[in-house]
Symmetry: none
Subunit: 138 residues, 4 copies
């Protein structure tokens, strides 16, 4: 879990920029994806879905973003806990937690201002595009 405090929600303009960078990374690799940007409470600020993306990714992209905002950590952290087995399986029963790579908190001036979630290809690729989006926020 990130120790960072929550800040004011990211602006629509910044959310749009992060999403554009994430989908540009997807397009460069010929992947089709949905991207969602949420505020610290998980409320949707921006979303778009590339044509022909698997339709289940519409909800999954939003869920990944929410998980990253609500639990102040990349969804990959929950995926790793799950992969470890044993008590780590509990993350599957944690309301709002998504243990699948592709969701990242967004930080500006050291505060968590929202999160981004990607879904559409392998979770590693989803994570790569989420990173491209997150790195546009400073």
């Amino acid at each position: 879990m990130l120790p960072n405090a929550y800040g004011q929600a990211i602006s629509l303009e910044s959310a749009r920029k992060a999403a554009a960078a994430a989908l540009a990374e997807a397009a460069r690799n010929h992947w089709t994806m949905a991207v969602a940007v949420v505020d610290p409470n998980g409320t949707l600020i921006y979303y778009e879905k590339m044509d022909n993306t698997q339709l289940g990714s519409a909800n999954v992209a939003v869920a990944k973003a929410r998980s990253a905002a609500l639990f102040k950590r990349p969804t990959k952290a929950f995926q790793d806990a799950l992969a470890g087995g044993g008590a780590g399986l509990r993350v599957m029963a944690l309301e709002g937690a998504v243990p699948v790579e592709g969701g990242l908190p967004l930080l500006a001036d050291g505060k968590i201002v929202g999160a981004i979630g990607l879904s559409g290809d392998t979770s590693e690729h989803d994570g790569q595009c989420a990173q491209a989006g997150a790195s546009t926020i400073k």
Copy 2:
């Protein structure tokens, strides 16, 4: 209910254009809104929320768009049925129906290719902006 058949889902590019026109109409009037564009099944294609929009509009914009797509009619039609009272009250119990102006089917070449939903100001204003968005699709 529109007699029109469903067509292929609207493209992301067209969805983005419709949303931009809808929010431009909102901005011109100093209203803050969320806009959602969905495919014929109600799956989210595009969404954005202006800064400081009332947060409840995040879900309401999507719900209005879904209602318009799933029931092939403007949400205003359900609102009018509701306002008429009597058996018209039944629309409140219809799963997925939203009897609040601001959701419109999107038609291209006579086929329903999706729907747009706006929320954030009075429902009349929401409807005015939805119309501005819908009129970009031919």
Copy 3:
């Protein structure tokens, strides 16, 4: 709808003060109530329920507070729309809206920093106690 922007979420300390003032007003009148204070997105910050309060008020208090935060207006505004009949009935079908007096936005320095919801007695009495709570925030 209030034209005010959203601000940072009210602190736990301020939430506790608002709730205490609301329940003090209830106790003074020998009413039993539940009180909830939420952030601008409707996430619960503080809550308490007086002994012997009707148990249904546990959820209703939270729902009233959420409605006031998410729609930037007192729940009484939705109640009045509903009472007017006709198209006003639509507020019953608006996701997250509660058309029952007793929920109020909380304003600090002109920004909406959360909301308070009361439930347990008549809705007029609930509203009176909500007002006592809201007036502690400046």
Copy 4:
């Protein structure tokens, strides 16, 4: 499962004391948490969330308390069953059960009078604070 009978719901005053002790333990360790106290049926009696707690903990704290009350056992018992694998995985499909440490039944005079749930840090730390809260009830 505890063999104890259910008693009358814990009073608001006792719930507040238990929550205060739990959060004092959290503060002493520089952890941020949400705490919930529920009655034997899982109805919320008292709740507070420290500033900057991860927002997903708002719902999780309540869910842990409910699980402990409804199933007469610490949520750690379900977590251990889950960690054991095999048939133990079934706890993930048990409605209302939360297999994550941090929820404890509250006992007074040998009767279950409610439960407390903590969320915000590691589940071990959540459990440590829940214990500090539970030990205030005799």
